[in-house]
């Protein structure tokens, strides 16, 4: 594991329990063995897809890499959330098949692999996936309706990773992890509008700076 240099201030708050601090801190570590679950080809497609789905350059400081691809890849081998759509195969297999389906369709349509495609064309393909227009009727690949289903799982998984990352929480000014420490369980004294407490983070994300400065 390697650690990036940034450490969000919320991790040092006494409104954080030791267990929660440990959980959040573990997300600063980037798995050094990649990929863990997906094939190299599928992993590369996912890595090229994520900035098209959810760019983070207006949220995090320039150059910050929170390794979403690696974390999703690892999470696919870990405990899942207890259910799946009956018309999709088990999660790890569904993700592998979906990403390879996207790569194959890209090649058929453009004569290029997904990772070599221009950013806007990747976006157009992702839109088509979400609208249920892209799929393949062959072994090891997903049909268009399965791809549409999977795109919901993709979106959900990405958001789980993003919103549970302490750097994102710090950048968006989110205090949800700061429910209370171990010796004193503080909770929140203020719960109404426009009443940020001193220990709660202020948003630092560039896209929120204007709103914060008018506070």
């Amino acid at each position: 594991m390697s650690r990036p240099p940034d450490r969000p201030e919320i991790l040092d708050s006494d409104h954080l329990s030791a267990r929660t601090r440990e959980i959040l801190t573990s997300r600063l570590l980037i798995p050094t063995v990649q990929p863990h679950t997906l094939s190299l080809q599928a992993y590369a497609v996912l890595d090229a897809l994520l900035p098209v789905l959810l760019p983070l350059d207006e949220i995090l400081p320039p150059g910050t890499d929170i390794a979403i691809t690696a974390r999703i890849d690892s999470a696919l081998s870990g405990p899942r959330d207890g259910w799946r759509f009956a018309d999709l195969p088990p999660d790890a297999q569904a993700w592998e098949s979906a990403l390879l389906t996207l790569d194959d369709v890209t090649f058929e349509q453009h004569g290029l692999r997904f990772i070599h495609l221009a950013h806007d064309l990747r976006g157009t393909l992702l839109d088509a996936v979400m609208e249920g227009q892209i799929g393949l009727e062959r072994e090891g690949r997903l049909t268009a309706s399965q791809m549409k289903r999977w795109s919901g799982d993709l979106r959900g998984e990405v958001v789980d990773c993003i919103m549970s990352d302490p750097r994102i929480q710090q950048a968006l000014g989110i205090s949800s992890s700061l429910t209370g420490g171990d010796t004193v369980f503080q909770g929140f004294t203020q719960v109404g509008s426009d009443s940020r407490e001193d220990f709660e983070p202020k948003a630092t994300a560039p896209l929120l700076q204007m709103a914060e400065s008018s506070e």
Partner: protein
């Protein structure tokens, strides 16, 4: 769970009076009531015993409270499991439930008589009300001094403070002329000494009810019924996955085989109570081929129509803070302009960020910078949501799939599709809540089509031909087998199910004591 009492234990060769599978809202009150009346009781719980102080608001890690044995979800409205339904661990789903605790509307017991649709319960509110009041009194429920839809009702605890979403919903109700109140919430707002448990602290407004309450403020079974059961001699056995129900030559239940730490064990019993919920209870019966002469085991699976509408405001809302869903209106229980039968409750919604983001992600196809900006709007977001009647339909059911789980048991397949009534209610509620949010200045209003909770599959009724259990929860086919959970609900009703499950559990315990 903490208790100063040293727990009594039983040998597997002991024939305990009652063996209960499940330690949540269905199993725990019954365990306490039977033990208090001198019965020997063992409770098998598939999950671990979580110390409350170890709960974490981290939504990914807090999934440890969900039932994580994989379920397959199908139908035209495949339900998202995980949160908002089954739990695991001593305390069951009440470890992660939202503690919103309205009472069932009297009319919902007689929906078929009222409308010609749905199913009547075999009794009315007057039958269940004494048990409801006992539950509320024992576990601790907060609510307003004056409840607009039931002036005689009283709550022992003052409501927690209204958070931003609750205040915004009040404004929306006022603008449209709807009555509103602080809703009944199963949490305490002053420190108490809970009998057989110890100190429970007042709610600290931390907002992480769904991730497990860290100071005992939320009323679960882990800090109420289960310690009481232990105090009266019941044994709680966590980490025990029950899979086989054994019977004698006459067909009566003799015991249950369960797996604990990879080893098979067998507990003998005189009476078995299944309290494993509307998926695992029918799954146990179906895998064992039991109690299904009616053909109704697994049938009539229901949810609640749980449409949400979210909006973004100019103010700093911070929706993670405070009790998440305080404001209620019951004015939509029978709206005059309804094009559906039954009704729905509306509640305000705060939410933790990943759960909120999941809803956003799955209800839109936004991508790119617009998606990032939408997620960045978390701190300015407030929501409202409903729980509404869902009619029983033959195509909605729990069956066994062709896939096996790690124990070699078929995974459950849950088919769930809205019918015309559910869609009509969804659209009615979406229109109403959108209008409320527009009126108070919300922007980027977003409707989320979703269902929550799990209800039905082992219907209770008077007729053995069309029901799995009789009106007190006893199997028609096997006289020492009982069911005590939301699988016995004949109809979904609008209210969140935990209160009725606990009330029915006490009522079933009384019936068992009479036999």
């Amino acid at each position: 769970m903490s208790s100063s009492t040293l727990m009594k234990t039983f040998a597997e060769t002991d024939i305990v009076d009652t063996l209960i599978v499940g330690s949540g809202a269905g199993g725990a009150p019954l365990a306490a009531e039977l033990a208090r009346n001198g019965k020997t009781v063992v409770v098998l719980e598939a999950g671990p015993a979580f110390p409350a102080t170890g709960h974490t608001p981290d939504e990914i890690a807090a999934r440890e409270l969900y039932w994580l044995h994989e379920r397959l979800s199908a139908g035209t409205n495949p339900q998202a499991f995980g949160g908002n339904n089954s739990g695991t661990g001593l305390g069951g789903s009440m470890l992660h439930y939202g503690a919103f605790m309205p009472r069932m509307d009297a009319r919902d017991f007689h929906l078929h008589t009222e409308t010609g649709k749905g199913v009547d319960w075999p009794f009315g509110l007057d039958e269940l009300l004494p048990y409801i009041e006992r539950v509320e009194s024992f576990i601790g429920v907060s609510g307003p001094a004056h409840y607009p839809w039931d002036p005689d009702r009283r709550y022992a605890y003052a409501p927690p403070p209204a958070n931003s979403a609750a205040l915004k919903m009040r404004e929306g109700c006022d603008a449209l002329g709807l009555r509103h109140a602080d809703g009944p919430a199963a949490l305490i707002t002053r420190d108490i000494e809970q009998p057989h448990f110890g100190t429970r602290h007042a709610c600290a407004n931390c907002g992480a009810c769904h991730q497990g309450c860290r100071n005992g403020a939320k009323s679960g079974t882990d800090n109420t019924w289960l310690p009481m059961a232990v105090a009266y001699g019941a044994e709680l056995r966590p980490g025990c996955f029950a899979h086989t129900i054994e019977r004698d030559s006459s067909g009566r239940v003799t015991g249950v085989v369960y797996r604990q730490n990879g080893v098979e064990h067998r507990q003998k019993c005189a009476t078995l109570v299944l309290a494993a919920g509307a998926v695992e209870t029918p799954r146990l019966l179906l895998t064992n081929g039991l109690a299904n002469s009616s053909g109704q085991v697994g049938q009539n699976y229901m949810t609640h129509v749980s449409t949400q509408v979210w909006g973004e405001f100019d103010e700093d809302i911070r929706p993670n803070r405070g009790y998440p869903s305080l404001t209620i209106t019951e004015d939509m229980m029978r709206p005059k302009d309804a094009d559906f039968v039954g009704g729905y409750l509306v509640q305000s919604l705060g939410m933790m960020p990943a759960t909120w983001g999941q809803n956003l992600a799955r209800s839109t196809t936004t991508r790119g910078p617009a998606f990032a900006r939408a997620l960045a709007g978390y701190n300015r977001s407030a929501g409202m949501g409903i729980n509404g009647e869902c009619l029983p339909r033959p195509e909605n059911r729990v069956t066994l799939s062709d896939e096996k789980d790690a124990f070699g048991i078929p995974k459950p397949l849950i088919e769930h599709s809205y019918g015309p009534n559910e869609w009509a209610m969804h659209h009615h509620a979406a229109r109403l809540m959108t209008q409320m949010w527009e009126t108070v200045g919300a922007k980027d209003i977003r409707v989320i089509d979703r269902a929550a909770h799990m209800i039905g599959t082992c219907r209770m009724g008077a007729d053995a031909g069309s029901n799995v259990v009789n009106p007190v929860g006893r199997s028609f086919d096997i006289d020492n087998l009982w069911v005590s959970d939301h699988s016995i609900f004949p109809s979904a009703a609008a209210a969140n199910p935990a209160l009725a499950i606990m009330a029915l559990s006490l009522r079933t315990a009384e019936a068992m004591l009479r036999t």
